[in-house]
Symmetry: C2
Subunit: 434 residues, 2 copies
């Protein structure tokens, strides 16, 4: 048995989700810490960025720009097996994201709702001990699919990287994903640089991607000045399984989730006590130190297991359910960043289609995973074809009720002009029409 804690819980019918499965990260603490960094970068630009990079990453980066030619060289220098894997993953992501692009506009009387792409996107990809090329793919490709004009990647530089202080794998991923530029900048200073511009780092219109709590707190702080996707916390997996599930597959999925780090959470919800015990035993046997929390929750039945998983609103919800129950679950509305029937979450992390940048900490209650909609601005373009007596008069009544004299006057002026031209009744036919 390993060091990791495996908790076996039982939840009766109608009882709420155990408190320990309601996770949230309190970012306010981190907001205090990153505020001076964000303000400093905003004031002093790249000079400040360079100082923080030296302090936090231990590298002095005079110019953080890695242009597309260098990305291509990095790709060419990679072993073919890695190049192939990046291409396969990128292709799976493109299939999903390009296929889910909505029509660029909807026409309605007097207006079009246009879905215009965000022009300049900055994708943050964490560095750390290992490079995360998959995150580059999973942020840049949805942005490109939406039609974003310029897509750049920011990632922390690493020590001893030579001329280009970013791993070749990251650069190659940026090449395959179609990024225009990589900046060797990380942390809160990267978010601030992308939000406000900082010398060689050009300002973007939206910053997306995962990162540690400092990065997330910085995103929260700048969110009035630049678009942000979401405040992402530690990764979470909920599995709902019935008797048809294979215990070993479930246990391996949970261990894969838990190896993201000690704050990650993997939970099995099941109505089957046999499955619960088998999975718990496998987890006990295989779990090692440094893993996240592992929960095995016995519910009254599969319906109850689904209810609890929905209440958790986890980042990933994986279903291992037999025929009818599976179909029913896929038709329902389940709160989760992604709902997957029979797909190992590790496959979703790399090469299935949807982005692995997903809402955590219950955020699936109000948003889904990163997708083309994150890079589209629904903007109403209206013409004056509906301007007529009825709408003008109703607006005058409301303007007066709200105490806005000039509003009412501007509307009366328009009404007068319409009457002069004989077009006032064109739409709606006045009050009697209601």
């Amino acid at each position: 048995m390993g060091d990791a804690a495996v908790r076996l819980l039982e939840v009766g019918r109608g009882e709420p989700l155990p408190g320990e499965l309601r996770r949230r990260v309190d970012l306010l603490h981190y907001v205090e810490k990153v505020k001076p960094i964000v303000e400093d970068v905003r004031r002093r630009g790249y000079e400040a960025v360079r100082e923080y990079t030296l302090r936090f990453d231990g590298v002095d980066v005079e110019d953080p720009r890695v242009p597309r030619e260098v990305l291509e060289e990095a790709y060419a220098a990679l072993p073919e097996r890695l190049r192939w894997a990046l291409r396969v993953a990128a292709s799976a992501l493109r299939r999903f994201h390009y296929s889910t692009r909505p029509p660029s506009e909807t026409w309605v009387p007097g207006a079009r709702l246009r879905l215009l792409p965000v022009r300049r996107v900055g994708a943050y990809a964490p560095g750390g001990a290992h490079p995360y090329p998959s995150t580059v793919l999973h942020t840049v490709i949805p942005a490109r699919a939406a039609g974003a004009g310029r897509v750049v990647v920011a990632t922390p530089p690493r020590r001893g990287g030579g001329d280009v202080p970013v791993s070749g794998l990251m650069l190659a991923a940026a090449y395959v994903a179609g990024a225009d530029m990589v900046y060797a900048v990380g942390g809160a200073q990267a978010v601030a640089a992308l939000a406000y511009g900082a010398g060689p780092v050009e300002r973007v219109d939206k910053v997306v991607g995962p990162g540690n709590p400092y990065v997330q707190a910085a995103k929260l702080l700048v969110s009035g000045d630049v678009g942000v996707d979401m405040v992402a916390g530690p990764t979470e997996l909920a599995v709902v399984a019935d008797e048809s599930a294979e215990a070993e597959a479930v246990a391996l999925d949970m261990l894969a989730e838990a190896e993201h780090g000690p704050l990650s959470v993997a939970a099995l919800f099941t109505g089957s006590r046999r499955l619960a015990e088998e999975v718990a035993a496998l987890l006990e046997k295989r779990a090692v130190g440094g893993l996240g929390m592992l929960y095995v929750v016995v519910a009254a039945d599969t319906g109850e297991a689904l209810r609890l998983a929905d209440e958790m609103a986890a980042e990933h919800l994986v279903l291992y359910l037999g025929g009818e129950l599976r179909e029913e679950a896929l038709r329902g509305d389940l709160a989760a960043g992604v709902v997957a029937a029979g797909v190992p979450p590790a496959l979703l992390d790399y090469a299935y289609g949807p982005s692995h940048v997903l809402p955590t900490g219950g955020a699936a209650r109000w948003r889904g995973g990163l997708c083309v909609y994150d890079f589209l601005r629904p903007i109403a373009y209206v013409d004056d074809s509906l301007v007529g007596r009825e709408l003008l008069e109703a607006s005058i009544v409301l303007a007066e009720a709200e105490g806005f004299g000039f509003h009412a006057e501007s509307l009366r002026h328009r009404l007068r002009r319409l009457e002069e031209s004989g077009e006032a009744g064109e739409e709606g036919g006045g009050r009697d029409g209601v």
Copy 2:
């Protein structure tokens, strides 16, 4: 001449937008102030809300709930002219928002991207000197159009309101819009109550709507724990007009915008010096104290005027342009919360179709106005039909490159199971297929 400042500026070809037209509200200052309130409400619930309501609004509200029956009574008690105006405005909003609902899902190989409605929405409507029933319509109706299950309104209570400390007009607007409940709660404490729940105030999944900087800062602070629409600042209008425009209409639109308060901004961009001078003269004549800033900007030509307006990315962009220029502008990508050709902004504020809750301070670079998309969660539901050798093997390569052993093991386990069942090559045909 009034007290308000009318500034006449001239911008040469290719020159940037004058700095004074780049507005932003620094919310960090307000974040400090509201943080204790948010934390207190989170900890002590409605007891804290009640204390802040007494302190800030001067009313002791034992139970803030105003249920739908009372909303209906308020509607019935309203003069018919106001009832009619609310109905007309609601009907115009419904026409736009129900017509712009996207299909509820997109099928792609192996997945569906489902647009599921946010279940519980809280709409904030400011109170202040005058009630703003229009804001109730402009927040609740898009939420209802998206299919939100429960939609509640929070608005500050007012002194001397008797049993129900909210104006009858606000309650009637909530009735017409189809809200389920009104809470007589305002300010940062209302945002915190909606985010975390507070006794009689039930927690929601997303908080939307305008409000003063305290309300906006509170939205920013809770944005990791509840969905928020945007951080809204003072209102802004950009008008781009050519010789075909009527100076009086333009001036009245600008005065209407400026009467929202001293922080609001209205700017005309035009290539016509004659129009600029006429509008400036009218503004000088009519402007009164307490208005916002009024700018008249002479650009080299209409194209340059549009470029400057795009750079401002104002909340409202109104075009008074002749035939060809107008059509060209409507086909382009203009950064603005709403783009309106020949529609008085006061009409957009009340009864044209799009919501008047729009991005300010340049936020139109990354989002549009409040619309059905704000209340839809695009969530990928995937099945295992694409699980095959190619995607699994590519993912194993990437998992190993990222140092995730259990990820690779869970994928290898699945590959083994597929091979046992003879289905491994079903999709993609393995590495040679790339």
